[in-house]
Amino acid sequence: MTDINFKCKTGDIVAIFGRNGSGKSTLFKILFGTLRANKFEIYFDGRNIFKKSQLNKLIGLHLQEVFLPTDLKVRDIIPLFFPDGENQKKIFHDPLISKIDTLRVGKLSLGEQRYLQFLLMLNSNHPFLLLDEPFTMLEPLYRDKIKEKIIENRSNKGFIISDHYYQDVLQIADNYKLLKNGTLLTIENPKDLIEEGYLKR
């Protein structure tokens, strides 16, 4: 990847499309600080952020894989991640979570695991969230819930989303990018995704 640069403000929902192997997940891990790039700069409110610890406080990463400890019960993992009671309540009161809160994470369906992981990230203090394939392999009920929650929370967060479920992403994003041949192209109109060879004619 070379010469990639883009902005994301609070309230933005930036979509990053790209074919398999184009480097979307790599880009996210570089932004999150768990992968090194030869040259990389990130600015927050005009301030250069160069410490990984600072970066991790500003940017959260929701992965396509489930990273929650599978041996813990849902009701134990929420207070572990949020010692603050107010954030805990928001998740415990979610109707899709309250019915599974006595189960171990490892016993949940993939959709339930990823929805729980998404809610933890959404309610975290990170002002910016990287969502790597939040919709992939999820049933419509969870996909709709996730879209709804992103829209609800955009007033206090910036989102950068990458997912091959492009219709779901297009419904909520207002800024589109395409990662192609190692560079990031700005897409003005979703139809350009066809011109650029990401979608079939």
Binding site: F67, P69, P79
Partner: protein, 93 residues
């Protein structure tokens, strides 16, 4: 914050204890197991954790911990526990 670190420490130390017990059995020396717990088994436990639970580091980093901080704390705690236990066993028993 200790709770989040506590979960990581518990998971890594489970592997450390397992490896140390195996070493103690193989060498037929309790002290070898304890010394191993404070030294080499710590590093083996990180390798095992990386092999089976590497993705869980994202849980802790997103939760506000740094990987370096978690590893250093675990090394320090287990080194202290292992060293103190080894000294007690050597001089008291």
């Amino acid at each position: 914050m200790f709770g989040l670190f506590g979960k990581y420490y518990y998971d890594v130390t489970k592997y450390n204890i397992l490896v140390s017990v195996v070493i103690a059995i193989l060498t037929e020396k309790l002290t070898a197991g304890i010394v191993s717990f404070a030294t080499v088994s710590i590093f083996i436990s990180f390798l095992i954790y990386r092999q089976f639970k590497n993705v869980e580091y994202y849980f802790y980093i997103n939760g506000g911990l740094s990987k370096k901080e978690m590893i250093l704390k675990t090394v320090l705690i287990n080194f202290l526990i292992g060293s103190i236990t080894a000294v007690l066993i050597t001089y008291i028993l």
